[in-house]
Amino acid sequence: MVILQLIINAFSLGSFYALVALGFALIFGVTHAFNLAHGELILLGGYLAYTLAGQMQVPFLGTLPVTALAMVIIAILLQKLLRRVGQPYELNTLVVTFGLALVLQNTMLMLFSADYRIIQSAAPAIELPYTQLLLTRTQVILIGTSLLATTALYILLRKTFLGKALRATIQDREAAKLAGINVRRMSLVGFAIGGALIGLAGPLYARTTYLYPSGGTEASLIAIIITIFAGVGRIRGILLGGWALGIAESTTVYALGTGWRELVSALVLISLLLLKPQGILSRKPKAARLPG
């Protein structure tokens, strides 16, 4: 029973990680912009939701569309800024967004003060019938939202024309250009969708952990780790990667102790990078990369 409960908790933690990562993964995949200010944007979304929920009494789920919309706008502004960044793009965006992260962090410090904010959920946990397993409402929302968001994104990328163009851009920018895809517009679309996902993650972040102005670094780190973990452009991999990390961490804490959590996740990550360099879902070995 304890093990099952552990697994439920691990899945919810993993879903949380995946949600935090989704926006980053999409933006990185489509545009190769390495957005270190990702965590700060999530926090911004979280603060927005906190304000809505606290001062205007908007129900929690009602804050999600508002923050998503707001973050789409901010992400588009970010794209306009990053468009000016010169080559090498990945590295330069990394440094520029590092600066942006500092600016955002301190702006939030001034706007929202250094106090910790949390969106409380008053509802008690649901006890699953015939077992003693507990499922809290936050867990339900986390697992549900991450599944929904992943599925929606997956369908968007696989089944729609826009998605196919996006996917082509993720896989090979040059080839996509040659195939007549407007890569610049795709990058705008990528940022917009990424922004919506960030807006979705913000309120959940505020509900699962807490908001404080310099907390964005951790969120960014989680996002980067899960993205590379999953393999760039693999949406289902993100959910799997999040779950894998959640399970690794939970079992470590349970079996070894809280102090070893970071070590085991680091080891899992490194071994995955070495054994499956293309991501958790990959089957092809890396030699296949060579032109044959």
Binding site: Q5, N106, Y116, I118, Q120, L134, S250
Partner: protein
């Protein structure tokens, strides 16, 4: 030398001295010029919350002193600096305050590892330093530093907690979770040794990194090993998650004790109902003051709330107390007509005997406070009730309502 000065003086002033003129209006030491007090705190970054609380306490003490006429007709001026929780930054900023801004004394400091280097700097430049929230024993244990004072220490936390556990709660099995910071680690070790002395079992003794987003696996372990008391040496934010997950998972505990971070009005506000029954510790809080200082305490709460628009808490009070000590010492030096030197201020600090809301402030020879003692409080229906020690009790221990 002359040639060099002619060529390099402009450049030197460009790089270094220019900034002097920008930020400080020249540190003249005339008789009517303000008395400069320097403060170093983590104003940004992860510890910004507590750093800013200390800052507000210090600022309030300075403003209060100025509104009552300053010291011997001179006003106080506070210069705050951010240490970014890094020792080299703390040293740079302290040096800048001492050398360029020529402050009369230093206050502030939240992290032990930063208080240490600043105190050494203070000794080197013979400037008094009154640390606001320093705990570790090592700081005052080794080399004697006559310029270092602090208004808190770890015994003031550990001793009341241990006797509360042993005399009042009498638990069978205790879990100790502590943060991987020097202060919290030392706390964990001392609590363990006093519990072991009292033959109380400690099935779980673990360290964690502050800022973890999830404790559910740890809580499952708590449930499995059937501990009845959890002592959690984490901080404010860690309690937010840990307590909520504990309530959600319905972990059966007789007591949850968090020495840091629970006894804060903002914590009670953030947690709401979920905070009911938790134990915390504090040196002061609105309504909790040392004997004889109730009136002073109420005045502080009123004044502070009017000034900053929020309720002060124990961290604020640590900042206030440290600044108050320095201000009082400076005032005594000036009023006795002596020169305002570091040595004179330190002498005044050592002979200080002040009744403040948080403690009856007297420093011993090492610079430690003589009477710093925290109390154990329990959150009962959104209020903090002092439950230990007996002479400061305002209510009885309530059994947690859940389960």
């Amino acid at each position: 030398m002359n040639i060099f000065s002619n060529i390099f003086k402009p450049i030197v002033s460009l790089v270094v001295s220019l900034t002097v003129s920008v930020c400080s209006a020249g540190a003249a030491l005339g008789n009517s010029s303000p008395i400069r007090v320097g403060e170093i705190d983590p104003l940004t970054g992860k510890l910004a919350k507590h750093g800013q609380e200390i800052h507000e306490g210090i600022l309030y003490a300075i403003e209060q002193a100025n509104s009552t006429g300053g010291a011997a007709g001179r006003k106080f001026e506070l210069l705050s600096r951010d240490d970014q929780s890094q020792p080299e930054v703390a040293i740079n900023q302290a040096e800048d305050l001492i050398y360029r801004e020529q402050v009369a004394g230093l206050v502030g400091g939240y992290v032990d590892s930063l208080v240490g280097p600043i105190s050494e700097l203070a000794a080197k430049h013979q400037v008094p330093y009154v640390a606001s929230a320093s705990l570790q024993q090592g700081l005052t244990l080794g080399r004697h530093n006559p310029y270092f004072f602090r208004v808190a220490h770890l015994q003031g936390v550990v001793e009341p907690l241990c006797s509360f556990l042993i005399q009042e709660l009498k638990p069978d099995r205790v879990a100790v979770l502590y943060a991987s910071t020097p202060g919290s680690t030392e706390f964990g070790q001392q609590v363990r040794s006093c519990l072991l002395d009292a033959a109380i079992e400690i099935p779980i003794f673990e360290k964690f990194r502050p800022g973890s987003p999830d404790f559910s696996a740890f809580l499952l372990k708590i449930r499995r090993s059937r501990v009845d008391v959890l002592i959690s040496g984490g901080f404010f934010a860690d309690h937010l998650i840990l307590v909520r997950q504990m309530k959600e998972q319905k972990i059966p505990l007789r007591a949850y004790i968090g020495p840091w971070g629970i006894a804060y009005p903002s914590f009670l506000e953030a947690m709401g109902e979920a905070a009911h029954g938790l134990f915390g510790m504090c040196a002061w809080n609105p309504g909790i003051a040392v004997a004889g200082a109730d009136k002073q305490s109420r005045a502080f709460v009123e004044g502070f709330t009017a000034r900053f628009g929020k309720t002060p808490n124990t961290t604020t009070m640590h900042g206030y107390t440290s600044a108050k000590a320095l201000i009082e010492a400076i005032r005594r030096v000036l009023e006795s007509g002596k020169e305002l030197t570091g040595d004179n201020i330190c002498r005044a600090l050592r002979s200080l005997d002040l009744l403040l809301p948080m403690e009856h402030l007297q420093f011993d020879l090492k610079g430690d406070p003589k009477h710093y003692q925290q109390v154990v409080v329990q959150v009962q229906k959104g209020e903090m009730v002092t439950v230990y020690p007996a002479d400061r009790k305002t209510g009885e221990i309530a059994q947690p309502s859940s389960e």
